[in-house]
Amino acid sequence: MGERISVVDYLVLEDGDPYVVANACSGCGATYFERRNACARCFGASFERRRMASTGTVRSYTIVYRAAPEVHVPFVSAIVELDGGGVLKANIRDVEPVPEAIRLGMPVVLTTFVAGTDDDGTEAVAFGYSPARTAREAGPEGVASGARAPVAQEQGNDG
């Protein structure tokens, strides 16, 4: 078993439970999940690392069925609004990739998975989001129950 590396530098694996960090503008608080020379919002040039929430809600999603050959399809891509601020794009995991299983606005929680292994045996660990389970839903079936619980009444419509 080799080393582990996060697929992007804003996913932190080495500090207990995995979490994401942002480059937050010291002036206005705008958050970026990439290196910035200056803040696009207030033009300030000083940033600090900020640990972001591991919970949020689904603002939008798509289910990708066609992609380049090396991309495993179908997968659910979502835009997640993090609790406490910040927006991230990631896959929704642990659900059937069908519209009926995903509800716009549904709460989600950060999860991690191995996205690949390099020739040295190093595992690349990525993050995604799973439907957040309420206490009642968190039965013996585990995360699978979260996939079925919040069924949308209508495709593309959060009611």
């Binding site: 992007v8 939008s60 066609r66 996205a115």
Partner: protein, 399 residues
Amino acid sequence: MADDVWILGASMIKFGRLPDKDLLDISSEAALGALADAGASMADIEILAVGNQFEPLGGVGQQLQKQIGQTGIPVYNVTNACATGASALRIVSMAIKAGEAEMGLAVGAEKMGKARLGGGGATAGKAVYERHGRSGAVMSTEGVLGTDFMPGVFAQAGMEYAHHHDGVGFEQFARVAEKNHAHSSLNPLAQYQKVFSLDEVMGSPMMSYPNTLLMCCPTGDGSAAVVVVSGEKLETLDPDVRRRAVKVSASVLTTDPWVDGGHQQPDVNTLTRNAADKAYEQAGVDPQDLDLVELHDCFATAELVHYDNLRLCEPGGAGDFIDSRGPWRDGRIPVNVSGGLISKGHPIAATGVANVYEIVTHLRGEAGDRQIEGATVGLAHVIGLGSTCAVHILEKAVA
């Protein structure tokens, strides 16, 4: 009037797959077509702007001059994603507005070939993870951290609208494509001219939910060009030429202002709203005055959100607007009567000029079977991710 900017000539070639013509063939054809339509020649042209996105070595403007007339005038090569052609027009308009030229030529041309979804991160040889780029990615994140491919990005833009507005879902998005395919059946310049039922649209292969294949624009080759003239110069021209001139009442270019998460999912709304509002103000035109609109329907999900962004419907009412057939050619505000990008085609750099060509043709009353009768004012919109938005409002007016 003397300060106004006018379209004097306009031309586009039939979009499609044109393996026997190179980029200079198609750009020459559109440019010469627009000059002939204007009753002008390269000797009259004082500035040339040529839009092209994919030619790796650039310099297409200078190459085009070698084919249509090398007169020593300034040339600008323009690249602005899907807003490339509109940006070329904007540059020529600004030069005329500034008094640096009386007549100019804007061209957009693209050879795209067949569709390819490539762009993945597969590498040959021994692969060892190393961090690259501003997010320190060790691999292509497509499919790992969501999607960056256009069908999905625009699907997410549409689904965000669905999230905030009841009565918007797969069927409403599909109806957009049903309409545009139907419209294209009247346009001989469209890449495709085939009518599809709503069931056929919804039942075609799913690309990126809710966008099916028939809800995505095709790739293709194409070109379009316009001759632009100052009001002052126009007054000196032959009455028969003047009569067909169309006034550019507004020409606006915007980029995306900062929003939270804009680097994760591009915000296609704010810059479009900003451009539209500025254009309506510049032209003194109300959205309800529009006789037709050509907007950037790269995907059906995109068209629907732009009904709202361009104020064609009540705020939040894009679903009702399409359900009530408001944007059909016999509806309240006809949208994409050309067939739109979805069926007319979307050769990237040609698009922003071709939609102006479409509006001009209707305002002149020369659109044949697809003519919107009595059209006097129209709006052309494009958005290029990155992002750039261009809005032009054109009016039939007496020069």
